[in-house]
């Protein structure tokens, strides 16, 4: 797309809605994500036909059916693989992968880490509701220890994965977290992800009204969320709290919560740097978990690295430039030839 020479397509959120009836449960966090996605994408100047949503299996993975863009509802956990094949074929497309905690981290964990480490230019949005919703409420790879579900009546015993820690460990170039009900923040994070070139990984805290209601209440309830979440801003100190009087300081290699005043000033606090080459800070932030810490939202990491699709296609161009395009006659004759008269 060349934005410089052609007028930007003007879209509204409505233009991005398909004619299919949305069938999530009433009160599901997915509604908000769908609405903010349409809102965010409508403003970007990307034509509808250049966008594609690819999903796996689960409640979140019905998402593509509701967008009036190209869409592919694939199989459980494998969406990043289809997205990789498509992106390599047509690098002009903006490819979104929609997944959930079961789809992306359990059955699809392998593809997730490999798509991220290759830095394929795709936006991976993981709806984390810490539960299997579509199969009616089993604990998931992000459920906290002790989560009581139909499959864990005495409480789950599996240690949960932290999606962002995993993504950072897989060398992600863009890592962010946001919350379904925090609509402005959500829209902004989606816009940032859209602008990133490379694999962008976004975790969205998403409420499952039916099977895991209010699991993120500490981060969404207006009366307490300011004390339990920390909004990351590049170049700014890590401050949080209703009265903005608390911060995060480094103690050795560990973060600690400190109260400002009484000898501790803003200068003592960690400064957020989303562009740090080394992912150590982003990783440290991804490990901060309620109730010991406020949980960070915002952009953890945004760095540039060549993308897989770009380099793969560049290798082809380089060979063609050096040797010229292939000719079948030469290919057939690429070994000793003999002639029978």
């Amino acid at each position: 797309m060349s934005a410089a020479t052609t007028a930007l397509p003007t879209l509204t959120a409505k233009d991005l809605a398909s004619d299919q009836e949305v069938r999530w449960c009433p009160g599901c966090g997915d509604y908000s994500i769908l609405a903010q996605m349409k809102k965010a994408l409508a403003t970007l100047g990307i034509p509808r036909e250049k966008m594609i949503f690819i999903s796996g299996i689960g409640c979140s993975s019905r998402f593509p059916y509701y967008m009036n863009t190209y869409g592919f509802h694939t199989i459980h956990g494998r969406a990043p693989t289809f997205a990789t094949g498509l992106k390599v074929t047509n690098p002009e497309l903006q490819v979104w992968v929609i997944t959930g905690d079961g789809d992306g981290l359990s059955i699809g964990g392998n593809h997730l880490i490999h798509a991220i480490r290759r830095n394929v230019d795709m936006k991976i949005v993981l709806f984390n509701n810490e539960i299997y919703g579509l199969t009616k409420g089993q604990y998931s790879p992000t459920s906290r220890i002790g989560t009581r579900t139909k499959s864990s009546p005495q409480g789950s015993i599996d240690n949960p994965l932290r999606p962002l820690s995993l993504a950072i460990g897989a060398e992600a170039t863009f890592v962010a977290r946001t919350i379904d009900v925090d609509i402005n923040h959500l829209t902004e994070v989606l816009r940032r992800a859209s602008a990133h070139k490379g694999a962008a990984f976004i975790e969205i805290y998403q409420n499952c009204k039916i099977f895991n209601d209010d699991v993120f209440q500490y981060a969404t309830d207006k009366s307490i969320k300011a004390d339990n979440t920390l909004h990351l801003e590049h170049g700014k100190p890590l401050i949080f709290g209703k009265d903005r009087n608390k911060g995060i300081r480094l103690h050795g290699l560990d973060p600690e919560v400190v109260n400002l005043g009484s000898g501790i000033s803003v200068d003592d606090l960690l400064i957020h740097d989303e562009r740090a080459e080394e992912p150590s800070l982003a990783y440290l932030l991804s490990r901060m978990v309620y109730p010991r810490f406020p949980e960070c939202v915002g952009i953890f990491r945004a760095v540039q690295r060549p993308t897989y699709d770009e380099v793969l296609n560049k290798q082809i161009e380089e060979v063609r430039r050096a040797k010229g395009p292939g000719k079948l006659e030469d290919l057939f004759a690429s070994d000793d030839i003999w002639v029978v008269e």
Binding site: T74, R78, T81, T84, G85, L86, L328, D335, D336
Partner: protein, 627 residues
Amino acid sequence: MTVSNPALERKNPQHQLEELDAVTIRFAGDSGDGMQLAGTQFTNASAILGNDISTLPDFPAEIRAPAGTLAGVSGFQVHFSKYDIHTPGDRLNTLVAMNPAALKTNLKDLEPGGILIVNSDAFTTADLHKAGYKNNPLEDGSLKGYKIYHIPINKLNREAVSQVKLSPREADRCKNFFALGLVYWLYERPLEPTLRWIRDKFAKNPAVLEANTRTLKAGYNYGETTETIAVHYKVPKAEIKPGRYRKITGNEALAMGLVTATQLANIPLVYASYPITPASDILHHLSELKRFGVRTLQAEDEIAAIGMAIGASFGGAMGVTATSGPGVCLKSEAIGLAVMTELPCLIVDVQRGGPSTGLPTKTEQADLLQAMFGRNGECPVAIVAPCSPADCFNMTFEAIRLAISFMTPVFLLSDGYLANGAEPWLIPNVANLPKIKIRHPAAPESNGNGTGEFMPYQRDERLVRQWAIPGTPGLEHRIGGLEKEDVTGNVSYDPINHEHMVKTRAQKIANIANDIPELTVTGPQEGDLLVIGWGGTYGAITTAVQRAQRKGYKVAATHLRYLNPMPKNTAAILKRYKKILVPELNSGQLRLLLRSYFLVDALGLNKIQGRPFLVSEIEEKIAQMLS
């Protein structure tokens, strides 16, 4: 081409030269002895000389099993002749055994009175022990039924390369070329193709280049100047169809078929695979062909590989993945998605011995029913199977044509025997190859439903839907694995629609029968016995049936290269014979299909040993059925 061979010009008058019609030779040694290389070079030299050739590499799954053990023996068999041949040969006329283990595992295949060349230096107490010999077979008289030549190959090789600066280890690694040189003399092969290969291969390593050159010539001259071997042989050129030829393996032919078909269809080729024996060579070949715009992806696993291929196909490329049986298991769910979304996709299964990890380096044809039925639900795909290494080119071309033309995943069933085996290939004229037509819709009205709205599951008279690719304005649509409403492609749980769609998907595949060639029969058009096969057994079946015909039996052969659907005249042909024999390297999978589709009393000849049929095995069965 003319091949000059200075060594041939100074003939030793003491040697007799005999002419033979055909020879089967096997090079056998430790996996580290370079037997595959020696065999390949011998094959090239024979092909260039104008013989017809057919080869059978046979190597262990372990890269380097402990040296000198039976498990580590690697062999390469070449059949070369002055007439048309279809198999790598049943019995060996000559065996080259580089150590006791190679002798022990291969001797049973050598014909009585056959030529046995052994590297006598390797028959040490330790190596004899490793091979399980209590006595040295070179000394105990047990080999007296063969024409045996004890050649101290280690010693002669070291002498040949003594002037070149190499470590003792590097020097010893040249010994396969000494043996090769000797066999070149034995069968009057030209050295030049191998010398040229050495020059190219070791251009950056002059010492190794020099050493291999010297020892190859030394081996040749050893035969020529000593009187160790009194008789040597020539096998004249074969009478084969005029044209330009090259040697080709099944995997090479397959890679070329992929590139050729996509070039002629004018679409990008996206090839994604996960390393697996015996399919990995296809990835190696294709990753060298970026000049043709081939995009190769080495995926994180088998599932990712097919996911990438299907994603590429959705994007308008030809998505291809190749694997072997264990990989097909992992890809099954994604193949179902490609059936449901009616996207073109090619799945190459280079079959090997199963189940499970099975026999990774040995051949078998036991994935036919897996390809037919190995998915949940009723999930039909097209299936083709090449019948020889060179035919891998043709059937790959066909597989891609059908995938694109019918918007369907297609299985191509190759096998380890075809993949690694080689034969001469008559190089096609590019201008005469068929083009593959593709029409992507460009506007919503293009499927003519009159609504101005694009209907992704609108079908033509063959029941094929259109291939609308992302990026095209106005054709935005969603596909997926949930059942589709016909025409609109919207998700539908309607019971009647589901039954309609299951039947429609099946009928679409059945309609392919209108677009493939009919089955042809070699031999009498009706009679006592029809031998019907599929895949890599073609050579053995054809040869056996021809021999039986010469003995007066009323037997005919036919070979299925299209397995789903089968050619339209299959039923009619089967009904014209009193008896039907189905030789297969499995327990009777095609037989099961033929019996159930056509209600014929087909009998099987089934071999499940990880090795191809011998011609004699099929010949005996024919004789038995007709006596």
